[in-house]
Every structure is written in structure tokens, then in C-alpha cells.
């Protein structure tokens, strides 16, 4: 049994009216039409999904973008139901990584039901799928229960990846990539060179004296302490043939 969750920004928006109609027709043709739930300003997405699960829903299909998925990720991964996507509009990086085309073409991918179980990362108890980005990283990473720490010695950006073009989301590991800019040579001949450090890990902590900003699946978080971990293979998601992982 399918439940389709429409994000607020696509409802009543003339730009997506025609596309939504085509999607609904295609879903009916494929025989996978289901109940439609609509997100709204004062409606809690998690409560809506819990109600649908109680009514026997086994697959929740999100119509929207990466922001919509963030709203429902915690409840879907905890309840072990299947997540499907119909990407609409811009900001659909996750759908691209999962090999799901935009708009009406996604209905055929849904119908094929190629389900993969993937890892989900956690940061201070909040879940993320793709990764965490820390621009201008000036803090330290505490790894392996504090047995060793990693600090950048030059200007660096930190990227923690779960699902990315070069990162497998089914291996039970996250990958911390530190992109540093290293000065080489001297005087007027000096130049900056990019280097990339890679640390695979399951648990890691970011510690900073001053508050830092980071972006988990594109959403900003601020603080001085972040505990990052992984929950292996807890999210069941419908993927397309052109997904970036094997």
C-alpha cells in the first residue's frame, strides 16, 4: 500500500500543476496509485506518516525535493518502511544519486520497485543521508573513542560522506574527506596545491573551542560539539538503474 506525500511548495503552484496531473495519471496507469497526504505549515510530517503506517502503509513516496526528504527521514528509517521519491523542481541531489529521474519518469522507477537498503548517518541524534559539509574547517576530529585526533594544519574544508558519487552507502562506514590547500615553494614562486585526506570511520566527534557552522544534508547546524555516527542498512529506498552506487 502506497502513500504519496506532497510537499507544500508543489501544492497550488501553477508551475507544477500540469506535472502533478501527469504523475497522478501515470501512477494510476501503473496501478500504484495510493492515498495522498499533503504537508502544510502547521501539520507535522512525522505524525502524518505514523498515522499512515498505523493504517497499513508499507511505502511512502515523497513528492518534492531534498528538503522534503529531510522532514520525513527520521520517522521512515525508524519504522522500516520503504521510501520512494518523485523529484519535483530544483534541489534534487539525493534523487540523482539514487538514479531517479525528475517528474513523471520517476513513476516507472517506482513501479519497478528496485529496493536497496542503505546506511544513514547521524549527527547529534539527527539523521542524514548524503553527508555533512564543514566549510573553513578549523576544529579537530576525535576518532576511535578519542584514541587519536586529526587537525588541519592549513586552510581546509571537511566533507563527511555517506552517499556520494565516490562513496558507497552500503558498507557500514562513513568517509571523512579533508580538502586542504597547502602552500608549496617560497617567496614569489609559492603556489597553493589542493590535497585530499580520507578517513573511513563509524564514529567520530568534531570538537571546537568556538561555535562552528556545518551543513547536514544541506541544513545548517551550529555548535562546538558534534557526534557523528552511522546506522548501518536501516533505510529501505527505491532506486533507479542509474544510481551511483553498486
Amino acid at each position: 500500500m502506497y502513500c504519496y506525500l506532497y510537499d507544500e511548495f508543489i501544492q497550488g503552484n501553477k508551475r507544477y500543476e500540469r506535472e502533478l496531473l501527469d504523475i497522478e495519471n501515470r501512477l494510476t496507469d501503473l496501478g500504484i496509485a495510493g492515498k495522498i497526504s499533503r504537508l502544510a505549515l502547521f501539520r507535522n510530517a512525522e505524525e502524518m506518516i505514523r498515522d499512515e503506517i498505523d493504517r497499513g502503509v508499507k511505502t511512502v513516496v515523497v513528492l518534492g525535493n531534498d528538503d522534503t526528504i529531510r522532514k520525513v527521514l527520521d520517522v521512515i528509517s525508524e519504522s522500516k518502511i520503504v521510501l520512494g521519491l518523485i523529484p519535483i523542481g530544483p534541489k534534487n541531489e539525493l534523487a540523482r544519486l539514487l538514479g531517479i529521474p525528475n517528474g513523471v519518469e520517476a513513476c516507472d522507477v517506482l513501479s519497478a520497485r528496485r529496493i536497496e537498503q542503505i546506511d544513514v548517518g547521524t549527527i547529534n541524534g539527527r539523521k542524514f543521508i548524503t553527508g555533512v559539509r564543514v566549510p573553513d574547517f578549523r576544529a579537530e576530529l576525535m576518532c576511535n573513542d578519542g584514541k587519536y585526533r586529526v587537525v588541519p594544519t592549513s586552510r581546509a574544508d571537511l566533507e563527511i560522506q555517506n552517499l556520494a558519487d565516490v562513496c558507497n552507502p552500503c558498507d557500514g562506514m562513513l568517509s571523512a574527506n579533508i580538502h586542504s590547500s597547502v602552500r608549496k615553494g617560497w617567496g614569489p614562486f609559492a603556489r597553493h596545491e589542493q590535497t585530499n585526506s580520507v578517513l573511513p570511520f563509524q564514529f567520530l566527534a568534531i570538537r571546537s573551542d568556538k561555535p562552528i557552522s556545518l551543513y547536514a544534508d544541506g541544513e545548517e547546524m551550529q555548535g562546538t560539539r558534534f557526534d557523528i555516527g552511522i546506522e548501518a542498512m536501516i533505510l529501505k529506498v527505491i532506486t533507479g538503474k542509474s544510481r551511483v552506487f553498486i
Partner: protein, 123 residues
């Protein structure tokens, strides 16, 4: 009918390979179950059950334990490689070396005791 399958990304990195590049410093007891490449700075200890490559720009102040090791940079500490140790021409080792097979290139500097024979493996 015979259309080629869409190309799958084969560039996904081996999940256990660790790279410590220039611009990064590691302090403490670093343990790994996979291959390790070091071009940055490490102080403390390094232990891996697989291969270890210490690049030319690496500065290590640590005891090193690995299955196989290739050293091109500077190591201040003891090195124990259970299978094979290769010291390249640019390498500088200040510490004792213990390995089953040893290769030292012309130009490499070793200040320490070299012991060869059966070596206990890293855990």
C-alpha cells in the same frame, strides 16, 4: 536489445583505505584494518594490518607497525613490517627496523638497529 548497460561508477573508494595528506596532522594511536597512505604529519603510533605507504613529504614521529611498508619520507621511531619493508632513496629513518624482507635504495638513511627474520604480525 543489445544496448550497453549504463556505466556504473567504479570509482567508489575502497572503504578501508586511509589517506593522510599534506596539510593534516594526526596525534595519538592510529590503528587501521586497511591500507594507509601518509603524506602529512603523524605523532604517536601507527598500526595497520595491511600496507603502509609513507610519502616523501610525510613527517612521522611514531612507532610504526604494518604488514608491508614503503617509506619515502622521514620516520623518527621504530618500524616493524611483518612481510616486507622498502626504504626508498629519499627516506630517513631514525629508529630500529624489524622485518622479514628488506629493500634499501641507495641514498636512504637508517640510524638504528636492523633485525631481520620472523616478525610478529600487527593485530
Amino acid at each position: 536489445m543489445f544496448r550497453a548497460k549504463p556505466e556504473q561508477s567504479m570509482t567508489q573508494q575502497s572503504s578501508n583505505e586511509t589517506i593522510i595528506a599534506q596539510g593534516v596532522k594526526v596525534e595519538g594511536d592510529f590503528h587501521s584494518q586497511g591500507d594507509v597512505v601518509i603524506d602529512g604529519e603523524v605523532s604517536g603510533s601507527i598500526e595497520t594490518t595491511q600496507a603502509l605507504i609513507i610519502g616523501e613529504s610525510a613527517r612521522i614521529k611514531a612507532d610504526v607497525i604494518a604488514k608491508n611498508a614503503v617509506v619515502a619520507g622521514e620516520v623518527k621511531g621504530n618500524i616493524r613490517a611483518s612481510d616486507r619493508l622498502e626504504l626508498l632513496a629519499t627516506s630517513v629513518v631514525e629508529g630500529d627496523v624489524e622485518t622479514a624482507n628488506l629493500s634499501i635504495a641507495s641514498g636512504a638513511r637508517v640510524n638504528g638497529k636492523i633485525t631481520m627474520g620472523e616478525v610478529e604480525k600487527a593485530e
